[in-house]
Each structure stands twice: as C-alpha cells, then as structure tokens.
C-alpha cells in the first residue's frame, strides 16, 4: 500500500515523536508513505474560526498537490484531517467558487486510526506484536476533530467510535469503558484561557481514572499535548495520567522496546508503559 503523507505542523513541531512513530510503524506494516511536496499549514483552527476564505483555501492548496500523486492521503492529526475533509467537500460541491478546474473526486483522506483499525492491518499488528502491553488499562480518547462533524469527517459512529479500542486490543492492552471518550479538551483555547483547559482536561482525566485507567491513548496531537500539560498543572489530588499516541503504543509493542528518548518527551511520567518493558527484560534475564 502506498499513500501520500500529510504530517501537518504539529508533527514537525511539538509532536515530532508522533511523526516518527507513524513512519516507523507504517514501514513495519508495509505501508509506503510519500510526504506531500511542499505542503502548507491547513490553518486549523484559527483560520476557519476567523476567516472562511483563508480557512478553506489553505487546505485546498494541499489537496491540489495531493491529487497530482493519485494516491490517498494519510493524516495523523485530527485537526488537519477535519480541515482537509472540509476543503474536499467544499470543492466537490462548488469547484467554480474555489477557482478549481479539475478535481479528482477519488482521492480519499484517511485519518490514522481509520487506517490502522482496518481488519487486515489490525491482524498484522497483532501478529507482529513482540511484547503485548498487558497491564495497560487504557482510556481511549478521541476528542473532537477526527469525528465531528460527521458530515465532514464521514465518521460512522461519532458518539461511540471503536477504532482506538480495536488498536489497543491488538497490542494487548485493555481498553476501559468510560464516559469522556469524545469530549472536547478545548485545545484551541488552551493558550488564551488555560483555566478553561484545566477544567475540561481535569474532568476528562478524572473520568478516565474513575473507570480504572492507568493511561490514556489518543490520535490527536492537540489532545495529547493539552491533556498531558493541563493535567500536570492542575495537581489536584489525583495522579496525572500519561497520554500516549496510538502509534507510540504500536511501535513499542512491535519493537519490544520503549526507548528512553521516547519516554523523555512526555510531560507526565510514562512509567506505566516503561515498566512493562523493564519487567519483560527482568523476566528474560531471570530466565537466562
């Protein structure tokens, strides 16, 4: 399988490790990624929130570059995914308005979890897993933009998605049932109104802890950064939960290793995952 790859600005900035884990696991799963030539920022969310024309024309430029390749586009960032989908719908509906002459209607925009939760790929992940992530009771956290608005994202079940749970199970983790899987963490407000972000993130983390989770997993770089950082701030009684990327868990399970470099990027201690690998080393050494 060969796909165009749109990393987006976060994956070249604060979420660089997400970019690396996406590339690492795709290679192992036999998915060929070709980064989109000279891609630009999709504008999420500031552009569409304040200027409709700019908010549409930024992602449209990327779609026009992508269609030259004739390949479907893989997008790991939920915000970029939603903006590219919105632009795609807009051009299809009214190409003249957006000054588009030829648009290939066949190109699909695929969010990472949708790709990874396809049955054949899940099977490959399970088969290739060298160290199942047992002991990881994980709260799968989707946030907003890979799901909503379903008219834009095409999400089949936006209130009760299952892609992350299926991925978590494939790597041997145990997803918990919990209430806040698709609640907003207010990532777009986090800088200007950290107090709101702390409240929303606090509620989300408390709900995950209540369900017995010892970690969270997401597929959105905004959620990952916001939920880890605003929990660390709140320091209210409960132990903060680390938030992993789905691809980070897969990379660890497949390689049988959770490298120091990756542990280091977390703002909340990722020990719950690290310990799985420490234990496995200890058992192996004990056996030897």
């Amino acid at each position: 399988m060969r796909l165009s790859y749109y990393p987006g600005c976060s994956l070249h900035g604060t979420a660089q490790d997400y970019d690396l884990s996406v590339q690492e696991i795709c290679k192992k799963l036999g998915i060929d990624l070709v980064e989109l030539q000279d891609w630009n920022c999709c504008g999420a969310s500031s552009a569409h929130m304040t200027d409709h024309e700019i908010g549409m024309r930024l992602p449209i430029r990327n779609l026009m570059i992508a269609q030259e390749t004739g390949q479907d586009i893989l997008v790991p960032c939920a915000a970029c995914f939603q903006r590219l989908c919105a632009a795609d719908k807009a051009i299809k509906k009214n190409p003249e308005y957006w000054d588009i002459k030829n648009y290939n209607n066949e190109t699909k925009i695929i969010h990472i979890s949708t790709l990874l939760s396809q049955p054949d790929i899940l099977e490959r992940i399970a088969t290739l897993t060298s160290r199942p992530l047992q002991d990881l009771k994980i709260a799968c956290y989707y946030g907003c933009l890979s799901l909503r608005h379903p008219k834009i994202t095409g999400a089949v079940n936006p209130e009760m998605p299952e892609t992350l749970e299926n991925i978590a199970r494939a790597v041997g983790a145990e997803p918990v049932m919990w209430s806040h899987r698709t609640e907003c963490c207010s990532g777009s407000l986090t800088m200007a109104r950290p107090d709101i972000a702390e409240k929303l993130v606090g509620d989300i983390a408390a709900a995950a802890a209540r369900a017995g989770a010892n970690a969270m997993v997401t597929d959105c770089p905004m959620c990952q950064a916001n939920v880890e950082s605003r929990q660390a701030d709140s320091a209210g009684g409960q132990k903060p939960l680390p938030v992993f990327f789905a691809t980070e868990l897969i990379a660890a399970a497949l390689s049988g290793d959770y490298p120091k470099k990756q542990q280091k990027v977390h703002l909340v201690s990722p020990d719950v995952l690290t310990n799985i690998f420490v234990q496995s080393h200890a058992t192996r050494e004990g056996a030897a």
Partner: protein
C-alpha cells in the same frame, strides 16, 4: 431603547442573508437545548448556545458580536453534530467571529482573537505554523508574558519546540491566499 428586550430585528436582512448563503438555517431551531446541554464550554459563556441560535434568527447581531460566547466556543462541533434540525451551529460561530473582526467590534475575550492572529501571521509568513514565533507574537500582543512560563520551559527542555521556522517553497501561493483571493466578489 431597553437593551434587554429581545425581539426580531426586521431590518437586519444582510446578516440573515449571509447565514442563508452559508446554509445555516437558524430558523429551524425549536429550542430543544441539546446544543447547550452538550457544550463543554457552556459554563463559561454569557450566552448559551441555544440563545445564540435564537438571537441569530431574530437578526440581533449586535448582542451576538459583543458576547464572550463567540470567542470561547472551541469549535468542537458537538452542538452541530447533535442538533436534531441539522443547524450548522459551529459554522454560525465562525460567521459571527469573522463578522465581529470585520466590523472592528472590541472582542469580549481579546486574548483569543490575538492568539488566532498570531497563528495566522505565522502561516502567512512561513506557509506553516511556527510555534515559537507564534507564542512570542501572542505574548507580546496580549501582554500575557508570564502565563505558562514553566510549561514553555518544560517543553523546550524536552526538545518539543523548534527554534527555527520551516518555510515552504511556494510562499507566493500562500501570500495570494492571504491577500484575499476570492474576496473580490465580497462573498
């Protein structure tokens, strides 16, 4: 005139036409309240989401453009997803924000549009969001120098912040987008 009176402003056709062209059918609202009850930021709003929709259908844009709700809305799309009448409520918020900016109305939450502007400046300049430049720009304009100092340092130490921006090649195409391509017809 008493500012508390809520009644349809028949004169405000321009605003209602704008919503119509964007396919935002505010008149379809029967005030069930699903949007307000599911809104994660509702506690911080001065106008509830359902009030925004109703005031919009009355064409009462002045109250809306001065509200803090339009700026605090996080664009999570929960309201629009759940609306039984398919009203594009999140798009309505987008329209209200951009209208408030175009009309130069003092935002009830000034730091939020400053954040958006800092982000857009960065995209306009480099073609991609340059996080450090964006943060510095936001801090200078908002005067919020001390907020998140520790978080910023932590992220820097963890190598999460790139010091240098990455520029795309075809910046002219981005400039064209920002210079108002398509706006010549005042759409």
């Amino acid at each position: 005139m008493n500012n508390n009176v809520i009644s349809p402003e028949r004169e405000n056709r321009k605003f209602l036409n704008k919503l119509e062209t964007m396919n935002i059918d505010v008149h379809a609202c029967y005030q069930c309240g699903r949007c307000s009850s599911g809104c994660p930021v509702s506690d911080f709003f001065d106008l509830k989401v359902m009030e925004v929709v109703r005031l919009a259908s009355y064409g009462m844009e002045d109250i809306l453009l001065k509200s803090n709700t339009i700026w605090l809305c996080a664009s999570c799309e929960t309201c629009a997803t759940r609306c039984p009448n398919d009203i594009e409520i999140a798009s309505l918020m987008d329209v209200l924000r951009s209208l408030a900016l175009k009309k130069g109305i003092t935002p009830a939450q000034p730091r939020i549009p400053i954040f958006h502007q800092s982000m857009l400046d960065s995209i306009k300049r480099w073609g991609r969001a340059y996080e450090v430049g964006m943060i510095v720009g936001y801090k200078f304009r908002s005067g919020d120098y001390l907020g998140d100092m520790k978080l910023g340092m932590d992220m820097f130490k963890k190598g999460k912040l790139n010091i240098l921006p990455h520029s795309i090649k075809e910046k002219a195409e981005i400039k064209e987008i920002f210079s108002g391509k398509g706006k010549e017809y005042d759409r």
